[in-house]
Symmetry: C2
Subunit: 393 residues, 2 copies
Amino acid sequence: MNYEEKIIEYPPVHPGTDRTFIRFYEGEPNPKAMLLGGCDEMPQRVFVTDTTVSSLPCMDEFTAEFGTGKGAAANSVHKRRSGKDILVILGAGEPFKTIESVLSIVAAALDANGQRSTVFVGIGGGVITDMTAFAASIFKRGARCELVPTTLLSMVDAAVGGKTGCDFGSYKNMIGSFFPAQKIHICPEFIKTLPQSEYRSGLAEVVKTALLFSAPLFDKLESNPGILDGRGKSEFAPLISEMIRTCVSEKASVVEQDLTEKGMRMLLNLGHTFGHALETCAGLGKVAHGDGVAWGMARAADLSERLGLCTKEYAERVKRMLRSYTWETSEIHPAMEGKGSAGDIARTIFGAMKKDKKNSSSKVRFVLQRGVCDTVITEADEGDVLAVLGAER
Amino acid sequence: MNYEEKIIEYPPVHPGTDRTFIRFYEGEPNPKAMLLGGCDEMPQRVFVTDTTVSSLPCMDEFTAEFGTGKGAAANSVHKRRSGKDILVILGAGEPFKTIESVLSIVAAALDANGQRSTVFVGIGGGVITDMTAFAASIFKRGARCELVPTTLLSMVDAAVGGKTGCDFGSYKNMIGSFFPAQKIHICPEFIKTLPQSEYRSGLAEVVKTALLFSAPLFDKLESNPGILDGRGKSEFAPLISEMIRTCVSEKASVVEQDLTEKGMRMLLNLGHTFGHALETCAGLGKVAHGDGVAWGMARAADLSERLGLCTKEYAERVKRMLRSYTWETSEIHPAMEGKGSAGDIARTIFGAMKKDKKNSSSKVRFVLQRGVCDTVITEADEGDVLAVLGAER
Ligand SMILES: NC(=O)c1ccc[n+]([C@@H]2O[C@H](COP(=O)([O-])OP(=O)(O)OC[C@H]3O[C@@H](n4cnc5c(N)ncnc54)[C@H](O)[C@@H]3O)[C@@H](O)[C@H]2O)c1
Ligand SMILES: NC(=O)c1ccc[n+]([C@@H]2O[C@H](COP(=O)([O-])OP(=O)(O)OC[C@H]3O[C@@H](n4cnc5c(N)ncnc54)[C@H](O)[C@@H]3O)[C@@H](O)[C@H]2O)c1
């Protein structure tokens, strides 16, 4: 069919905000002081958290403002006394990272007469911060958003950088948007109450940041494996706090250059291609995300060495550091034992990678390293990948 | 609590695309030729339409490619022979403009292994184009989008300009995003099969564009009321085609300046404040959207005159033109008859406006005019609004 053509050209826009203010707090978290100060002229806020976080002692004074007692039920919506702000409490953890949860935030905001000027405030781990920001981004085509990350992972990674979303069916993070928060409130001491496994999961992302962007952070991690079991000790508090700041700064400078993941933001996938495939093949919930990423960084180091990108020394150094934090670095992860021969397991994991990336060819792209802060994105042949997955053992 | 602050600054981005190619076709619509040409290297497409549109004769060859017969059931998903492209058929009309419909598009795309490079192609009226673009915008945080508007309203308004979304509960367009399509394919002849009421509804938006931006278009509408009942006549085809182009151009230049409705895009609400309130008060489905907007433009003209913004002559000219297209221009719309005294009805409609805009004060903002192409946004006092709603009769 014949046609004539006309073009509309758009100036670029800032989805959500043109800048994020990140506040680093000291001492015990005090959400009431942090979030409920201010005058009556404040815009309306829709606070979102989960059942676990809302039951933390430091949240008592905050939730009391909404008239909710300890252990308030999930999905209950409580109006604040002023009648303007509301609190939405969702179920805790990844199984609740659903579109239904996101829509329950939207519905609560609508019920409370929310506007584009309404601020959606997510208080929790990556599940809550991702979903709250997603809800804000689609509410009347975009409201405002602030985040209070309460897990190590969400402080150093999830809350920073504007990726929002939720899972869909059995697929992780399949729907979402790019919509940075206007403010992020970081209280490192929130992590004191984290389960150890969640804390360790967050540390894996700290290691990733070190490998990608900060030799001094790498050195600190190497020389302080005691932080794995010592986050309660006052000697480690300043160190952990400093590590969080370094991670936030480094992630910030990546997203300042590439918010929508068209280029260098892909570097942040170091360890993730192997890690996701392991998580999938081991069976849902068998390998924690951070543990998968840590193992993936070991595999990426071996693959880098095999492809002649880095020295044996560098690969060994990375793996030694990971092991000192009790992460698995061997070619075949224990979670895969009993799932066939070494070759079978390697091929299963390679298959999952191909599916994950939907590569039609037999090549998969990896984030690999020549050394600390020297990273490349490259394809690798099946043979090389299978080799570092132990197929030849 | 004390804190230190760090700032992340984002360069602006282009959600979806930096430009939209609008193609104007001549002659009978041929969706197969228009959309299914091209080579095997084409990216995957997820076509979305509704049961009514998929049953149009001009769609036969297109749907046949997906192995669907006439009257395929809503929500049925048919894989194309090539196994790559798919067709999703949703229920027709506003009642299907739901998040469930949007998610069924997402689910079908996931099932078909969709990627960010997948193109979501909406073929239909504003309901289908809004939802398809919304689905594209949240799929993996943003896939690609093309639109084929098949109603007059969607050609001149809905498909152009990047607003996407769906209804939520009883609230219209409460969730969505700003996400322009990469291509819009406009075949004016699609409108030949439209029900007359849908055609007239689209014409109201043409009138709006004329008042806001184009004196020549206003003149053409004034001197050709025959197009209301003559769209089938060959003498009117070039005129209607030209009107569509004018509307597209004018809307394009507004959204080029203000995609995300922070400023001048609000002008496009001429007639809508009154119109929406009437639609709401008359009861869902009683007054068609376009008819509400047309009546709203008459009310806006009277209010402009009352506030001394325009002359009596201008207000009369606008209303005369609207009446020549059989639209209602009287202070009290017939759909409100039997709903109380003149004063009651006026106050009911004013109440709906305040609620719609969630104005806390007794003032509501209106898009008003000094004359053709001379528009202002201003607040008006309750008394003046009630007066032009016939409260004093
Ligand atoms: N947006 C991004 O860029 C990005 C980056 C990485 C990860 N993520 C997402 O983040 C999620 C994982 O984040 P997460 O590990 O924080 O998950 P999470 O939110 O599920 O938190 C883990 C658990 O810790 C609990 N918890 C949170 N804070 C606590 C505290 N202070 N004390 C005690 N318990 C607490 C939570 O209730 C939950 O049960 C995933 O869904 C992932 O997709 C997003
Ligand atoms: N995004 C925007 O900027 C914007 C602007 C204005 C309106 N809208 C939205 O657009 C929607 C209204 O659009 P609409 O009036 O096109 O509604 P619609 O999509 O419901 O179409 C109206 C009816 O006409 C049928 N139809 C479509 N094309 C046809 C054809 N060629 N022949 C015969 N029948 C046909 C449809 O199946 C439907 O039943 C509303 O939901 C509104 O919110 C959006």
